[in-house]
């Protein structure tokens, strides 16, 4: 069946559907590209892609099928998926089903046959645009109208739609040494795994839980998860965190990092087309060493807005943007990128060790 992508600047990309088709299905979202060559399964299930239509720059997708182990959450969060050539025949000793069946199961529209390089170059020039993925025959004007009426990513609180409704526990892998409360803005499973592997018992709580109720759980530390949307729109979490700074050690990743920065008094802004991929070089300013990182963000912390007691710990070597901050006096730090990887390189997993060290020090 025909599948098409229409952008807010009226450009059109036509291909064939290979995912869920439904009945004249269309979904709106921000069109972004991801440059990872592997890891489509983790990308599909990463809650941070909520309300986004993701185009993979690597043209062959579906090669190794889908398995249950590599999911980053229980559902697919992105609005639509775009590839150059879908691989209906997959081969891997761990695969359990085809990508197509997985997409259908999760009711996600997907289009193949697209000149994804053209689309990428378009986004690179114009910036991330609103768009629509539409399956079947559609009246173009109607689609254009829908896109124009869709909300802008800026100012959009998407955390509410992905955060857990109720608190749950993720027990430590071995002996429980630390109790970490994780504020769920759309957390990826591998983050929880990285923590539990380090003897943390993690209590995952809804994003809107108040600081008092968090402290009532008597945690050793607070973790701020990744997630979708504009950090500035999650005002209640900014408030909560600002009340907790100085009380317990805090570690944030991605949206968690942005919300932390906002709580510390800094500002965030939207990048032209964001960073999404597994090859971004980040420099650790303490050691001078370079980490190849996994990234997925459209917003970034404005370096010039950082208060004087906050230092920049990491920068992106491609565009010199802030990739990590650390409080100069308090046990508080965060990174913009994804040290838990999944997908992507494992160069930065040491940050979890640093977090544990920090918790240990504070505790003793």
């Amino acid at each position: 069946m025909l599948g098409q992508i229409l952008l807010e600047d009226d450009s059109v990309f036509i291909g064939q559907s290979f995912g869920y088709e439904g009945d004249n299905l269309s979904r709106m979202g921000e069109i972004v590209f991801n440059t990872s060559m592997s890891g489509y399964q983790e990308i599909l299930t990463d809650p941070s892609y909520s309300h986004q239509i993701v185009a993979m720059t690597y043209p062959l997708i579906g090669n190794y099928g889908v398995n249950q182990e590599d999911l980053e959450s229980s559902k697919v969060h992105l609005a639509g998926f775009i590839v150059r050539e879908y691989q209906s025949n997959y081969s891997n000793f761990r695969s359990e089903q085809s990508l197509k069946d997985f997409l259908i199961e999760h009711k996600i529209p997907a289009v193949e046959g697209i000149d994804t390089r053209r689309l990428t170059r378009h986004i690179r020039e114009k910036g991330a645009l609103r768009g629509i993925i539409a399956i079947g025959n559609w009246d173009e004007e109607k689609l254009k109208d829908k896109v124009r009426k869709s909300p802008l990513m800026e100012g959009l609180n998407l955390v509410d739609s992905v955060t857990t409704q109720s608190q749950y526990d993720y027990p430590a892998n071995g002996r429980k040494q630390y109790h970490v409360v994780a504020m769920d803005f759309g957390v990826k499973t591998n983050i929880l795994r990285m923590l539990t592997e380090r003897n943390c018992h993690v209590t995952v709580v809804p994003a809107a839980l108040s600081s008092n109720r968090i402290m009532a759980l008597s945690p050793d530390a607070l973790f701020l998860s990744n997630g979708p949307g504009d950090p500035a729109a999650v005002d209640y979490a900014i408030q909560t965190i600002s009340e907790l700074i100085g009380k317990i050690p805090i570690f944030g990743i991605c949206l968690g990092h942005q919300i932390l920065a906002l709580a510390l008094g800094a500002k965030t802004y939207k990048l032209k087309f964001g960073h999404r991929g597994g090859n971004h070089p980040v420099q650790n300013l303490d050691t001078g060493k370079i980490e190849i990182t996994s990234q997925n963000h459209g917003f970034v912390v404005d370096q010039s807005s950082l208060p004087s007691d906050i230092g920049v710990s990491h920068i992106n070597l491609n565009d010199q943007t802030v990739e990590g901050i650390r409080h100069k006096n308090l046990p508080v730090f965060s990174v913009q990128y994804h040290p838990e990887s999944s997908p992507g390189p494992h160069d930065s997993s040491y940050l979890f060790d640093q977090f544990i060290e920090m918790v240990k020090k504070t505790k003793s």
Binding site: S38, D70, F93, R117, N279, P345
Partner: protein
């Protein structure tokens, strides 16, 4: 940290001649390194014995030594140049091995030379099987179960411990040389013995077989701050069991999930840290069990490798250049990414296309060699293709091979054949062993198998190729059926889909029973044109500035043809015997020359090993198959003023006529003139017109005519099919009996008539003359005298410039005849003529009005960049003598061919009219003898200074051996000879001991050779019988690396070399000194 200022002068070791397993990729890496270090202000000293390289162009280094790459010679250079550092990681295994010896023998310490890029202990840890195994164990990684053996007893015990099949890997050899897999004890004994022989330290590693496991390679870079990045992952289409150099490979990896890929990435980083490669590139190979994902480390190369060249071309990340910069102290984050300008080298390239490498073999040249692919590399070249999908890349790659396959097509039958059930069953039977034991045609047999209905599981079972790849092939096979209809019935959608899947116009023409031209016109009428995308390291995330293009069928085209005056240069495609690096050298020189003159240059080529496919060699690079379709598409897009076709060997020549018919302006000598010289009849008339001589010759159109006409011309004669490259299927026959043997063979291998018959001028001296001309004015580039007599292919013959036995008068006459021929053929550019001189009479053998294989050697020997001059003639149509300075030459240069017989033990190591060499070396000195000795040394044959010489020559040669043998005796050599030869020598008072012929009893020569008692072998056969007798002797010589000469002229040259070595100390001179540059 910025670059080191304590280093001023750096020595780079090149890789020497092109051999199987070490190809021209090291010219690419060496050139990049030289440029990169010079750019940083270092003085660069270079040693490389291979004159056909861009890196040995005198402007690439401050001091360029075309000298044998041996520890002794390098020491001489170090002593003379006193470099501060040596960079050994860019010259392949040769560079590394020499550096190890220099370090171990204390030479580096003695002269205070620092090894940069890698250190001795890392090299040893990576290369020594035992140390490597222990190192892997210490970081928790597994390697195949293995045992090291240094003799047969240990080997046999190890084999019973490990079990069969078992892998045998000799230590410290190139390209897996001597490596093999044994399935039973009998095979094992033979292979283990061979392996022990081949290893320079008589050591083999016996290893558990992981046949059929998935095979991966990762290319890494590390800087001295311990930053590590992975440049590229490569997955082998052919699983473990076939040498990666002989495997079809794909980048990036295709069938691992991110979790599994990241595991390999983590392991690689752990390995490079453990081995301790300080800076630069490394390559690590893994095997992955397809059933459970278990990972085994196979090996690591602590240097830039063949795969690094591929990875560089596949990603746009210039590994060698960056490796050189890292070696002098930079860190990855300090080096800019040339392609994006904005980002740094400290990142991991991401691809938005699929790259395929396909090897090219030359078994047609070695009919006795076993074409089964195994763990010893046998291919001589490779192609790379880029497309947006695997299917598109594969088809582009297959047509890039230039083996007459327009894409993924059948081998045993045609897709259009009606196949009944019985034939289908027969084909299945026939195919199963062909799938099981891979040879170069396996990919095409898979097509046959899919067509006759073998299912994916069966094909997987026989080939162990991952199902994902097989499904890709099945998709192509299934889709192909839709193209079995008349062209007019194909609509836009179908044809566009076909093009997107990589089907060539030629394939579509065959399937639709049309012709390529019609398909092309029809396709263009539907407006289905290729789009050109960019290789940019970043999947379009950043704007890129480097026009490195590939074609695909998409919506958006990214080329922006300029309005400048521009010239297209058509490259030489995959390396093969007869067409190698020499032609790439010419194309690169052409591009440099045109850029100097202000033209924009457009390079088209399909060979990833080359300098021509470096993205900064030309203004624009199109990495594309060299077919009429692909070249025309680019031509029509770019609209250059014309195309240069005379520098890339046969590849562009074959396209010339068709391109011209399609409106391409050919620059330089017209294809008509080129054809004229190829056409025997016309060429004969031309010679007659001038009164020039030619050996008697004729053309025969059937068997009877061959016999009849050979008789008329008179034996011996040279016979060959009329359209051949590098003298294929060409033979000298001395008797009617030999001729009928030849014809029988010809009939079996389906050689086409007509067959050409030439009088063979026995004992004539062969000459090569290269010239540049504008059709009026002609300049002689060089006159070369062959060392071996006429009848040995010029590509295999050693030659000397200037000539040493030919009189100046004859030379002058050669030059005159060359100039007249240039005028007659209206040459614009280069002309090569081969002459034979007999009794001071000059005979034309052939004239080729195009760039020849010898131009790079001539350029290095004369100090003039002839290809550049010729290129300028092609565009200006004028040769201006006044602008050319020709240095006075006071030295002698000898070119020697390097032969691959060591890799093909079943082949007879005899030289003949069919070219067999893979590469060449050059020796330079003020005396011929020393220059010759150096050329032998460079070809890895050390002329002895003492010891025993074995000689066995045929009747005709006997009178000529007296003088050289007397010299050898005077120099203190002991002589052993077979009976006939011995009698001749005794008649001339040369004391000679008798030795048994092989069938006369023992100890015979072979026993002496094996025991290391023979220093030099001279064995000249001429009749068929002694060819067979001598074969075993020659094979033994090669196996034991004893210098072997099969011609009397070779003997004379060798003796002159031995004499010079005995009387003079070896001196080294740089090109800059020789030519006062």
């Amino acid at each position: 940290m910025p670059k080191r200022n304590d280093l001023k002068k750096i020595l780079i070791i090149g890789a020497g001649p092109i051999v199987i397993g070490q190809g021209c990729e090291f010219d690419y890496s060496g050139s990049q390194a030289c440029k990169s270090l010079k750019e940083e202000g270092y003085q660069v000293v270079l040693i490389n014995s291979n004159p056909a390289t861009i890196m040995t162009d005198p402007n690439m280094a401050d001091a360029t030594y075309i000298e044998p790459i041996t520890p002794e010679i390098i020491e001489l250079i170090i002593k003379k140049e006193r470099p501060d550092a040596i960079l050994p990681t860019l010259g392949g295994q040769t560079g590394l091995n020499n550096a190890v010896i220099l370090a171990k023998t204390g030479v580096l310490d003695r002269y205070n030379v620092e090894m940069i890029g890698v250190n001795l202990s890392s090299i040893e840890k990576a290369e020594d099987r035992y140390l490597f195994k222990e190192a892997m164990k210490s970081i928790g990684l597994s390697v195949p179960k293995s045992i090291i053996a240094t003799d047969m007893a240990q080997s046999m015990k190890a084999a019973s411990d490990i079990g069969y099949p078992i892998v045998i890997r000799p230590s410290f050899t190139l390209g897996g040389s001597g490596g093999s897999i044994a399935y039973n004890q009998e095979e094992f004994e033979k292979m283990a013995r061979n392996g022990l022989d081949q290893s320079p330290i008589s050591e083999i590693l016996l290893e558990e077989s992981v046949l059929g496991w998935k095979e991966y390679e990762l290319e890494l870079m590390r800087d001295h701050k311990d930053n590590v990045v992975i440049i590229c992952s490569i997955e082998n289409f052919d699983p473990m069991g076939i040498h990666t150099g002989d495997s079809i490979t794909v980048a990036p990896q295709q069938t691992l999930s991110d979790k599994e890929y990241q595991r390999l990435r983590d392991y690689s980083i752990r390995i490079i840290r453990e081995i301790g490669v300080d800076t630069g590139g490394s390559n690590i190979q893994f095997a992955v069990n397809p059933e459970d994902g278990r990972v085994i480390v196979i090996e690591m190369n602590p240097r830039v490798s063949r795969s690094s060249a591929l990875a560089s071309k596949a990603t746009g990340f210039p590994i060698a250049k960056i490796a050189a910069k890292l070696a002098v102290g930079y860190t990855l984050d300090e080096i800019p990414n040339d392609i994006t300008h904005k980002t740094k080298a400290s990142f991991e390239p991401t691809l938005d296309y699929c790259v395929i490498k396909i090897p090219r073999w030359a078994f047609e040249k070695f009919p006795k060699a076993d074409p089964t692919l195994s763990i010893q590399m046998k291919s001589v070249g490779e192609v790379m293709a880029i497309g947006r999908t695997f299917k598109e890349s594969l088809q582009k790659g297959l047509r890039s091979l230039e083996i007459g396959k327009p894409g993924f097509v059948n081998e045993l039958h045609s897709v259009m054949d009606e196949i009944d059930d019985s034939k289908r069953e027969r084909l299945k039977e026939e195919l199963i062993p062909k799938l099981r034991f891979a040879d170069p045609k396996r990919i095409f047999y898979i097509k046959d198998a899919l067509d006759v209905g073998l299912d994916i599981d069966s094909i997987h079972k026989y080939t162990q190729i991952d199902r994902w790849f097989l499904y890709q092939l099945k998709d192509l096979t299934d889709f192909e059926k839709e193209l079995l209809s008349p062209l007019s019935e194909m609509d836009y959608d179908l044809l566009f889909k076909a093009k997107r899947m990589g089907f060539s116009d030629q394939q579509i023409a065959i399937l639709s029973k049309s012709d390529e031209q019609t398909v092309r016109e029809y396709r263009k009428s539907l407006n289905i044109l290729p789009t050109y995308k960019l290789v940019d390291t970043c999947a379009a995330e950043f704007k890129s500035y480097t026009p490195y293009h590939y074609s695909t069928y998409e919506e958006e085209d990214e080329t922006f043809p300029s309005t400048k005056q521009k010239v297209m240069i058509i490259g030489s495609g995959p390396n093969r015997i007869g067409q190698g690096i020499e032609f790439d050298y010419l194309c690169v020189q052409a591009s440099y020359a045109l850029r100097e003159e202000g033209y924009e240059t457009i390079m088209v080529n399909s060979n990833p090993e080359t300098v021509s496919t470096d993205y900064d060699t030309s203004d624009k690079l199109y990495f594309e198959p060299l077919t009429v379709e692909d070249v025309l598409n680019i031509y029509e897009k770019e609209k250059p003023m014309g195309a240069i076709i005379q520098l890339g060997g046969q590849t562009p020549l074959k396209l010339a006529r068709q391109l011209e018919e399609c409106g391409v302006q050919i620059l330089g000598t017209s294809p008509h003139s080129i054809d004229l010289a190829e056409d025997r009849k016309n060429f004969k008339e031309l010679l007659n017109r001038f009164g020039f001589l030619q050996p008697k010759n004729d053309i025969a159109y059937n068997m009877d005519e061959v016999i009849e006409k050979a008789e008329m011309i008179g034996y011996p004669v040279v016979v060959r099919p009329s359209y051949v490259l590098g003298g294929r299927a060409m033979e000298i026959v001395y008797t009617p009996e030999q001729l009928s043997v030849y014809l029988e063979k010809a009939a079996k291998s389906q050689i086409d008539f007509p067959i050409l018959i030439d009088q063979f001028l026995q004992e004539a001296c062969e000459m090569d003359v290269d010239a540049v001309s504008d059709g009026k004015e002609t300049l002689i580039c060089g006159v070369m005298e062959h060392i071996e007599e006429a009848g040995i292919h010029s590509g295999d013959s050693a030659c000397v410039l200037p000539p040493i036995t030919i009189s100046p008068k004859v030379c002058k006459e050669l030059e005159c005849q060359t100039a007249r021929m240039a005028e007659a053929l209206k040459v614009q550019g280069l002309l090569n003529i081969q002459f034979a001189i007999k009794d001071d009479k000059i005979f034309f053998i052939e004239a080729n009005p195009r760039g020849s294989r010898t131009i790079p050697f001539v350029s290095k020997a004369t100090g003039v960049e002839w290809a550049k001059i010729a290129t300028k003639v092609m565009v200006t149509k004028r040769l201006d003598r006044s602008t050319i300075t020709i240095p006075v030459v006071n030295h002698v240069s000898v070119k020697e061919a390097v032969l691959p017989f060591g890799k093909f033990p079943q082949e007879d190591a005899l030289l003949g009219p069919e070219m067999k060499s893979t590469g060449e070396v050059m020796g330079v000195d003020s005396h011929f003898g020393t220059a010759f000795a150096k050329s032998q040394m460079a070809a890895n044959l050390i002329l002895p200074s003492h010891g025993t010489v074995f000689i066995s020559v045929n009747k005709n040669s006997k009178s000529k051996i007296i003088k050289p043998m007397k010299t050898l005796v005077q120099l203190g050599f002991k002589i052993l000879a077979t009976e006939g030869t011995r009698l001749t020598l005794l008649e001339h008072d040369i004391q000679t001991d008798f030795i048994h012929k092989l069938d006369e009893g023992r100890p015979n020569l072979v026993d002496y050779v094996i025991n290391g008692d023979i220093a030099l072998i001279i064995n000249t056969p001429s009749t068929q019988r002694s060819i067979d007798d001598g074969k075993y002797i020659r094979q033994t010589a090669i196996r034991h690396n004893v210098p072997l000469f099969t011609t009397v002229q070779g003997l004379i040259a060798a003796v002159s070399g031995i004499e010079s070595l005995a009387n003079n100390d070896l001196q080294v001179s740089s090109l800059q000194e020789l030519f006062n540059l």
